[in-house]
Symmetry: C2
Subunit: 368 residues, 2 copies
Amino acid sequence: MAEFTLVAVDGVARSGTLRLTHGTVETPCFMPVGTGATVKGLTPSDLHASGAQIVLANDYHLWLRPGLRVLEAAGGLHRFMGWDGPILTDSGGFQIFSLEGRRTIDDDGVTFRSHLDGSEHRFTPESVLDFSRRIGVDIAMVLDVCTKLPATREQLERAVVLTTQWAKRSAERSNDGATAAFAIVQGGLDRGLRERSARELVELDFPGYAIGGLSVGETRDELYDTARFTAELLPPGKPRYLMGVGTVTDLIAAVDAGIDLFDCVYPTRCGRTGRAMTRDGHFNIFNARYADDFAPVDPTCECRVCGQFGRAYLAHLFRSQEMLGPRLLSEHNVAMLNQLMRDARAAIRTGNWNVLAQSLLGRTKQSV
Amino acid sequence: MAEFTLVAVDGVARSGTLRLTHGTVETPCFMPVGTGATVKGLTPSDLHASGAQIVLANDYHLWLRPGLRVLEAAGGLHRFMGWDGPILTDSGGFQIFSLEGRRTIDDDGVTFRSHLDGSEHRFTPESVLDFSRRIGVDIAMVLDVCTKLPATREQLERAVVLTTQWAKRSAERSNDGATAAFAIVQGGLDRGLRERSARELVELDFPGYAIGGLSVGETRDELYDTARFTAELLPPGKPRYLMGVGTVTDLIAAVDAGIDLFDCVYPTRCGRTGRAMTRDGHFNIFNARYADDFAPVDPTCECRVCGQFGRAYLAHLFRSQEMLGPRLLSEHNVAMLNQLMRDARAAIRTGNWNVLAQSLLGRTKQSV
């Protein structure tokens, strides 16, 4: 089930509600990444406290470890990881196509060797979708073909052709209704191919659409232009998901392009390495100036970490290689993006998106 | 301030309340170790949820990093680390005397080189006590001389003599009343020296006494015998703290010997390496059998981790080297010991300590 209701449109920016089997997601919404059944360092309770509405997991990683048998015996991914809200699984196509030299693709699917133990596995559109459904997620991304940029037109076209064929097979796969399959538009930076990919997938009438094949080597302007161009090709009544985007400026640009959903490892990866995200830009917590700076990481942030700890304490934890540091900064970074999206929703619903976006872009001195 | 009230005595086991500046501690009580201003992986909120009443920190570590200047600027250790309950600081004598070849001891104090950067520092009984008071802790352990076992009688005697001299200087140090100084009985396994050390320190009328110089190389029986022998030498109306003890069987033996307070890195160190503590013994979460075992870590445990996650999930996290694994298992292990002490208090207060102790020792098949 994935019922999308558009609540407000402000310029091209949109705000809506997405009803899923495990709850309702207010959009625009950032989805923290829990690749292997854990958003690194954070519990489900931390995620709820940070304002997370839905988390992302990855079929490729979960297929290899802990595997379908364990996840089914646990009663599904939700019970296994203790998260009761909606979950979206990426198929892992992106990860598999990154395994150069360790995967072979044919019209029917892709055979690859595990990055963990070299064991051989095969993904087809059907096997991946069945996996997502059997572990009980709310949204399953179909298996697609993702091409690293730069790529030749032939490579991009073959990716679009196969992606459509596989999406068609995914759409035809039997479905109990609990897990909604979303299709992924490919085509690189080629507008003709994006148009073709979007048209072919929209004809298949999926409950939601992602824009894939970006954040894979192109410039920021190319990313924004392609996202905006592609979003316009998608049906207004269906949710739109831009894959792999998660910095403050990227999120603002994406919301402004009419995107509803985003995911990225950026806030948690930054959290683990000491990069603090704020509305005024990022900073490195290891910088000497923070050793005796007792202000919260972000004085405008409402998260639990900013409410209880100062920069000096986090700096001390990181310098002492204490795992509490990565944990706390990850929670802050995720909470900060969730607050940004909450404010975006409120602005769009009151017709103030442009004011908020300009104000945020004016404050953000660095690319965060 | 350290006001101890004995509430109940059952055989030799005791239960009481210890009123400190930042709150009241019900004894017997296990104190989780937060050496460098963090109980590894856990927030103050986690510690409260686990039933922790007081945490331990270490002057030696805090002196070196973040240092007095930062801790004072933060408004003290409590505000720095966000823990509002009582804190006990060990002086770090144990750590310094472990720095063989990097420290020289004289009658006035000890000069040592930092394990972090080789910088030279000096601890005297006065400087360490002043440090603890300036960072605002509830209980400061005086600087003592701790001897690794086995040791000659001469080494042990010199440690006892200096420990008394230093304790006397500590007792005479001016005191605002907020931070209580506890003395530490030394003497190794030598009963004569233990008697002398206890007698000399008791004459100085400290508000509390620790039994030091154990858990440093002796056998379990030697530890238990010496703890029991030394505890009897201490005034019944003052709290007794056995340093460095934190396994289930050690805690039971120590409570049975009339000890009130304990600390150990054991539960958090085990938590980080995948060793789960339960009332029925410990187990290694990496063991293949736990990969599809969906029971809680300890089915009799009331902690948040056991309430929400199964062994299979923790096994998956550890196998995937996910930091959530060490965090969750640390919280469980600490909570499990805190529940054990809570049950010990209830049993002592109702005259059932012996029944509980025998039942616990009967269940614990392995030494945990």
